[in-house]
Assembly symmetry: C2
Homo-oligomer: 515 residues x 2
C-alpha cells in the first residue's frame, strides 16, 4: 500500500471535516486533497519524475502535510531538511541525495543564496512563505493555483518514500531510506499497540516535522481520520496558548520540551484539559519529570514511544495503562505489534532478562538502509536486526529499560557506569532543573563521572551537595565526582542534549574520547 491511501480514505469518509489547521488557515480534507493533487501536478510540470527527491526546509506548518502527500502523489521521495543545521550541513544532505527541488519558507529563504553558492545543483526553489516569492524562486501558491489536479501515482510498497538525514557518528549525516511499507508498518503498529480510549480528535505538532517522531504521529493521525494542528515550533508560552485557543486533544513532545512547559512560570494559569492523550519520546525521560507532567496534565492519558529514525520510527511503547504502575515509569515500554525486540551481547547472542546489553529490533518497519552507505547499512542491520546503539535490559514481562547509549557508557575504575542511572538520581535533587552525566578523562579512574547541571531559577547547589545526594541513592563510584553548573544545555533539533558538545572541551587534547 502507499502512504497517500489514508488521505484518499479520509476524503471518502470525512470530506468536510478539518484536515489541517495552521493559525487562521483551516482546510477540510476535500480542500486539502485538491491542493495536494494540484501541487503534484505542478511538481510533474517542473519535471519531477518517479523516485526524484524533493526537499522542504521550513518550520512546522500545513505546508508539511501538503508537501509530503504531494511528493508521494507524484511517486517522488521526501527529504525534509533539519532546520537546525548549518547551511553546509543542509547542502551536504541535498547534494549527497541529489535533491534538486527545494521548498523553503520565509525563515529559510535568506539561506538559499549561500546554499546555492555551496552547490549549484539546487535547480528549483519554491517559496512557501507569505507574500511574493523572492527573486529566483517560484511561488508555492501560484503553482497550486496554476495547475490542474493530476491522478495519484499510487506507488508504494517497498519503494523509497523518504530519505531522513540523522546525525552521523562519523561526523557526516546519514540518509535513512524508508519505504512506504516501512512507515505504514510503524504507523499501523503504533495504533495497534498503544491501547487506550483516545484516537482521532485533533493532534498538535510542536516537535519538528522533519523528525520521525512527529512525522510518525502525523501518519497515524491521518490513518485514524483525525485532524492536524501545526504550531511553527516549540515555545512554551505559545504552546500553552495554542492548547487553550485550538483545543487539541493530543500532542507529542520530547522530554526537553516537557521540562520547559512544566517549568513555565504561568503553566498553572492555563486550562490544559483539552489534551486527552499526551505522547512523549525521542529521548529518555526522568521519572521526576514524568510525574510532574502527569500532574500538569491530569486529564491526559500518557503514552511513551521508544524508537529511532531507522525503525520508521516505532520500536516499543509504554501504554497508558502502564503509567498506572509507578514501577513502570522508568521503562521505555514493550515491543510494539509486528516488531521483534531483543537485548544482545557484543556477539549478538540474546542475554538473560535483567542483563544489560544492546537493544536490537526487526520488523517490516526496519529501514531499507542508509543512502549510498552499503557498509554502514550492513553493520547496522547485521544478522537482520537493527542495532539501536542503546544499552538496556528487558524485564520478565518484556519491558525495556534504557540505561544508556552503548557508546556513552562510562568506564570508571573498571566499573561500567550508565549515565542515565546517574541522571535519574541527580534529577531528584530539588535544585536541579536539567542534568547530563558524561565521562571525562581522569588520571586516577581512567574516566571520571562528571555532571553538567542547570539549576532551577533561584536555587543554589554545590558539587559536594550533589554528590552527597546521589550517594544516598546509588553507589559511590556512580555518583558524580565533579560538576559544572551551566545556564542551558546544548540541544539537538529533536531536543536531545548534545553530550558530544558537553564532552568536547574535556577530550580536546586526547586522541580518543573514551579512556
Amino acid at each position: 500500500m502507499h502512504l497517500t491511501q489514508s488521505l484518499h480514505r479520509a476524503v471518502q469518509q470525512n470530506p468536510d471535516r478539518i484536515a489541517t489547521i495552521f493559525g487562521d488557515r483551516v482546510r477540510t480534507w476535500r480542500e486539502s486533497a485538491d491542493r495536494i493533487a494540484r501541487l503534484a501536478g505542478a511538481l510533474r510540470a517542473l519535471g519531477v519524475a518517479e523516485g526524484d527527491r524533493i526537499a522542504l526546509l521550513a518550520h512546522n506548518s500545513d505546508v508539511f502535510h501538503e508537501y509530503m502527500y504531494a511528493v508521494w502523489w507524484t511517486g517522488g521521495v521526501v527529504n525534509p531538511v533539519n532546520t537546525r543545521w548549518s547551511a553546509r550541513e543542509m547542502v551536504y544532505s541535498l547534494q549527497e541525495s541529489d535533491t534538486r527541488v527545494l521548498l523553503v519558507d520565509d525563515a529559510f529563504a535568506p539561506l538559499v543564496p549561500e546554499m546555492r553558492g555551496l552547490w549549484d545543483g539546487i535547480a528549483t526553489v519554491v517559496h512557501c512563505g507569505d507574500g511574493p516569492a523572492p527573486e529566483g524562486m517560484l511561488s508555492y501558491e501560484e503553482l497550486i493555483a496554476d495547475h490542474e489536479p493530476v491522478e495519484d501515482a499510487r506507488l508504494g510498497g517497498d519503494r523509497l518514500a523518504g530519505i531522513f538525514y540523522t546525525g552521523g557518528t562519523t561526523g557526516f549525516p546519514k540518509g535513512v531510506m524508508l519505504s512506504h511499507a516501512n512507515i505504514l508498518a510503524s504507523s499501523n503498529s503504533l495504533v495497534v499497540s498503544v491501547q487506550g480510549s483516545v484516537r482521532g480528535g485533533r493532534t498538535m505538532y510542536v516537535a519538528p516535522m522533519f523528525h520521525l517522531a512527529a512525522l510518525g504521529s502525523w501518519c497515524t493521525q491521518t490513518l485514524v481520520g483525525g485532524s492536524h494542528l501545526f504550531l511553527p515550533g516549540f515555545e512554551p508560552g505559545a504552546v500553552l496558548r495554542g492548547i487553550v485557543e485550538q483545543q487539541p486533544t493530543s500532542t507529542l513532545l520530547v522530554p526537553a520540551m516537557i521540562q520547559m512547559l512544566v517549568d513555565h512560570p504561568s503553566a498553572d494559569e492555563y486550562d490544559l484539559s483539552s489534551i486527552k492523550r499526551f505522547s512523549y519520546g525521542a529521548s529518555p525521560i526522568s521519572e521526576t519529570l514524568l510525574k510532574r507532567a502527569m500532574a500538569v496534565f491530569p486529564q491526559a492519558e500518557f503514552a511513551q514511544g521508544y524508537g529511532m529514525t531507522e525503525m520508521a520510527p516505532g520500536v516499543a511503547s509504554l501504554a497508558p495503562e502502564d503509567h498506572q504502575h509507578p514501577r513502570l515509569l522508568r521503562a521505555a515500554g514493550r515491543a510494539i505489534a509486528g516488531v521483534d525486540v531483543r537485548v544482545v551481547d557484543p556477539e549478538d547472542n540474546e542475554v538473560p532478562r535483567g542483563t544489560v546489553g544492546e537493544i536490537v529490533a526487526r520488523g517490516d518497519n526496519a529501514m531499507l538502509g542508509y543512502w549510498n552507505k552499503p557498509e554502514e547499512t550492513a553493520t547496522a542491520l547485521r544478522g537482520g536486526w537493527m542495532h539501536t546503539g542503546d544499552a538496556g535490559y528487558m524485564d520478565e514481562d518484556g519491558y525495556l529499560y534504557l540505561v544508556d547509549r552503548i557508546k556513552d557508557m562510562i568506564v570508571s575504575g573498571g566499573e561500567n557506569v550508565y549515565s542515565a542511572e546517574v541522571e535519574n538520581a541527580l534529577a531528584t535533587y530539588p535544585a536541579v532543573a536539567t542534568c547530563a552525566v558524561i565521562g571525562v578523562p581522569d588520571p586516577d579512574w581512567g574516566e571520571r563521572v562528571h555532571a553538567v547541571v542547570v539549576l532551577k531559577l533561584g536555587h543554589t547547589a554545590t558539587a559536594e551537595e550533589i554528590r552527597a545526594h546521589c550517594k544516598t541513592l546509588i553507589a559511590g563510584y556512580k555518583s558524580p565526582r565533579s560538576c559544572d553548573f551551566v545556564d542551558a544545555m546544548p540541544l539537538s533539533p529533536a531536543g536531545k542534549i548534545l553530550k558530544r558538545d558537553l564532552r568536547k572541551p574535556y577530550w580536546e587534547n586526547t586522541e580518543r574520547s573514551v579512556n
Copy 2:
C-alpha cells in the same frame, strides 16, 4: 512479517497470562507456545515440508489455535475444512489442494474411512479428540509429548499461509489463497479502524473457526495480547452459560446466531454484562434484530465487520460510535484503514454516491488468488480490484449500504450458498425438468435456500424428497429447505430464468432483497 510473530510477542510480554481456554483446559502463552513448537517438531518429523498443506476437520477448540500456529511455525499452509460439508465435498477440497495430512477430532473421526475411500491421498491422519487414537490414526497428544520443540521457520510476507475453500459459483468449491501479509493486513486494519475502548480481554469464539470471520478475530486478538475462549460450536443455551461462567469480554456472532440468542426463552435470566464488545458480521443484519441485540447486551459496544474470505476478510466496518446514530444501523460500515472501496458499474467505472453498483475493494489483504484457477482469479481481481459480488451504494460519508447480490449467492445462517451449486444437485433428481434456487427471507436463517421446480410431465415429487436427494450430494445447509412447484419459469427474451421475478413475492414487504 509472519503470522507467528504476534505469538512470540505474547510470550515475551505475557508469558504467564492465559492464552487459551477450552472447557477445563486453560493454558498460558508460555505453555501454549511450547506445545506449538513441539507440534511443529512432530509435523516436521512426519515429513511436512515448507509450503505443504495440512488440514483440520474439527469443531472449535484450542486445537485450532495450536494447529494454525504450528503449521505456520513449520512454514506450512493451513487448510481448515468446512465441517458442514459432505464427505465428498471435503475430499474434493483436500484432493484439489493436495492436502495429505489431516487432523480430526472425535466428531469427524468416523468420517475418515469414507473419505479415504474417496481419495487414497490422505497419507497421515492425526486424532485430536479425547481418548486413544482410532486404528490408522496418530495421537495428537502423543505427537506433542514425543517431540522436542523446533525453531520457528519464520516464513511470512507474500508466502501462502492458508487455503480457505468457499462455495464455488460453478458448482465446485474454490480455494482462496491468502498470504501471511494478507491476513496480517486485515487484522491490523481492523484494529486500527474499529475505534473504541475495548481491546484485549477475553474473546469467545462460537462461530466456526474455519471461517475467516472467526479466524480474523482470533488473529487480531493475539495481536493485541488478549486471551482466546473456544466454545465447540453455537448452541444458544451453551453460549449464554459460557458467558456467565467464563466471563468473556468480547465475542463475534453472525446474525443467524444473534437471532437464536435473543430468541432464547431464558436469555434475560443470564448476566451477560461481561461482554463489552459485540462484533457481528458475515451477513447483513436487520435493523430490528440489531436493536434487539443492543437491548440484550446494553453494556456492550457494537461493531460490524463487512468482508469476505477473498479479503482476509476485512473490507469495511461499522464502528461502535456509528451505532449511536439510528440512521447508520442499516449500513455495512466504511472502508477499513488500508483498503480502497468503490462502487462500480458493469464496466468497472465508479458510480456516483447513492447509485447502486457492485462493491469492489483492493488492499494488501486482497487474496493471492484461487488455487489452481487462474481464470476465476483474473475475473475476480480484474483491474486490480476484488469484485465482491455484492450490490450496494455508498453515501456521502463513505458508508456502504448493501442492497442485493450481483451473483445469486445466498447467505443462510452465515454460510455462503451459491445457487448454481444447489441447482446442479437438484437437476440430478429424475423428476426435475427445470429448477432455480433463490434466497428467501427466513426468521431463523436470515435467508433460506428455496427451490422453484418445474417437474417432468407425469412425474411427482415432494419438497421433502427433493431436500433428501440434495443432501446425498451437498451439505444440509445448502439443500433447499422449501420448494415451490410451478408450471413454467419466467424467462428473459434470451431464455434465461428471471430470478428477480421469482424472488419478488418473497421480498415485497422488506426494504432490501438480502437479509
